[in-house]
Structures are given as C-alpha cells and as structure tokens.
C-alpha cells in the first residue's frame, strides 16, 4: 500500500510546506495537509509530521496553544496506536507540551535566536528514525529557534539516556540544552522530537543531504515492520 502521511498546519506554522516537499521527495506516496482545527486525521496514516514555525504566535509558551488544538487530540490517539510521529522545532515544542515527549523547551540560554548549521551526533541508530545513520556519526543539520533549550529534571534525563531515547545530541553547545540533547524519542520509539530541521537538508542545493536518511528510514522501517 502506498505510503500515506500528513503534515499538520497550525496558524503560524511556516515550515509546513518544506516538510511536505521533503516527504514527497524522499518518502513518496500521498502527503495530506491537515489544518489544526480538524478533529479527525485522514484514514490509514503511516506518518504524521508536526512542522516548525511559531504556532499561535508562541503565545503563553512555544507550542502550548497548538498542543491543545483539536487535531492534536487525534495526533495523540494516533501516536498511542503506534503511528510514526515526527515533530521538528515548533513541532518538538508541541510534542512536549502535549505530553507525548518528556521535558520542555525553554528560551535559549544565550537569549538570542540561533539560526545556523549545527553538527549533531547520532546517539542511537537503533530507532525507526535513525537506523539509516551510523552510531556516533556526525551530521550537519540547520537549527533556527529561540526556544530550543531542552530541560528535564536529572532523574528524567538519566532515564531517557539509559533507555537510549536521546536520538541526537549537539556536538557542541548551541542553546543551553541539558546534556546537549537535540532530539528525543518516546518510550515506544515511534515519536521523535528534534529542534534541528532535517527537512532543510534534503538535496544538494540545500547545502547538504544529511536529513534524507531520516525520511528514507521512516519509509524503510515501516515497510519492514
């Protein structure tokens, strides 16, 4: 059956088109565009992506309002059924606010918006999202965020590290994130949140293609599953 995915658009999302194009180019199949006010998702989804941006103007806290929007209740139910969910940047913030991932994303320690390519280390290459990389491989993916400073209490950090749920780590300090964590998996491994933008490293014209393997493996992992 053809690969079926959905990209959710919240008011203020601005990376939704980039995400949809990356999925179309790398994963193929049908990409549905879903509005935040929709209470239901299309049937038969293999993959849901929450894009970057500034949903609801970052009012209250980044991702806080989007996490309570009608479509997110459907996304939470889909994630619980085992549907693969990727949240990038604002999408990561939404996933933590919705309780699908542990921790929170706070204002960057250096106060300023950070927009540049960063080096990431692939910490766990056993996940659905990262099996196309080598363990310990260093890749280059851009970040563009103001609130990317990952925080969780020490007990939570120890637990997710022990369970191999840190997917990516910044190779050097970027935003003050605890233990330089850049991407986190849920306990079941079907939900990934990350601040860097893999959808912006898909073709040579982007300056690199290190993001492709993530999308390639989402398809490969689902076909093999």
């Amino acid at each position: 059956m053809a690969f079926t995915s959905a990209v959710i658009t919240f008011p203020g999302s601005n990376c939704d088109r980039d995400m949809a194009v990356a999925i179309e180019q790398v994963c193929g199949g049908t990409v549905h565009r879903v509005w935040h006010g929709d209470a239901d998702l299309p049937d038969g989804l293999d993959f849901i992506a929450l894009p970057g941006g500034f949903s609801y103007g970052d009012y209250l806290r980044s991702g806080a309002m989007a996490a309570r929007s009608p479509v997110m209740q459907a996304v939470v139910r889909a994630a619980e059924r085992g549907v693969t969910v990727l949240g990038v940047c604002n999408g990561f913030q939404v996933l933590t606010e919705a309780g699908l991932l542990p921790g929170a994303l706070m204002r960057n320690a250096g106060i300023r918006f950070v927009c540049r390519d960063v080096a990431l280390t692939v910490e766990n290459n056993q996940s659905l999202f990262t099996a196309g990389y080598e363990a310990g491989q260093q890749i280059t993916i851009p970040v563009a965020h103001h609130d990317g400073n990952y925080f969780a209490d020490d007990a939570t950090l120890d637990r997710i590290e022990g369970e191999g749920r840190v997917a990516f780590r910044y190779a050097g300090p970027v935003n003050g994130s605890a233990r330089n964590i850049a991407g986190v998996l849920n306990d079941r491994g079907n939900v990934l949140g990350m601040m860097p933008h893999p959808e912006r490293m898909i073709e040579a014209a982007h300056g690199g293609t290190d993001g492709r393997a993530l999308f390639e493996n989402v398809v490969r992992g689902l076909v093999e599953a």
Binding site: L60, R68, A104, M106, R107, N108, I111, F151, A152, G176
Partner: protein
C-alpha cells in the same frame, strides 16, 4: 470573581530572561540587585461559582507547564 495566576520558573531552572534583565539593571547603574527571576501574571475574570479545583485544573492543563513552572492563585478580595 477576579483571579490572578502567578506563574514562576521552578527553583533550579535557569532563567535566561531574568539574567538578561539583571544585567540590564546593572547596566543602568542599579546596585545591590542579587538576582532576578522573570515570570508571568495571568488575570482571569471567572464566574463566582468557579471552584478551586477548576482553577487548579486550568493552571495544570494550560496556564503553567508543570515540568518547569510553579503557579500561585490569588483571588481579589
């Protein structure tokens, strides 16, 4: 009923905004400022019948992020 919800970062959570405000105060020549923590005040006008439990629920479900923040509820006399 007027209700004021004060949301503050938990102790031990680094507050970059508070630190920037602190530096700015020092830059303006104010001395003796030991620490600055920035928070958020949310004013609600709710039905008089609103229960304390409902107010707590609002704070926990939306107004505060319990991973990083504490909240305090003040009711106007």
């Amino acid at each position: 009923m007027k209700v004021r919800v004060i949301v503050t970062l938990k102790n031990g959570v680094l507050d970059p905004q508070g630190r920037a405000i602190h530096h700015a105060l020092e830059g303006l020549g104010f001395e003796g400022v030991n620490d600055v923590r920035a928070g958020r005040v949310i004013e609600l006008d709710v039905a008089d019948s609103t229960s304390d439990e409902a107010l707590d629920d609002m704070c926990r479900k939306l107004l505060a992020n319990m991973v990083i923040e504490n909240y305090r509820i003040e009711k106007a006399a």
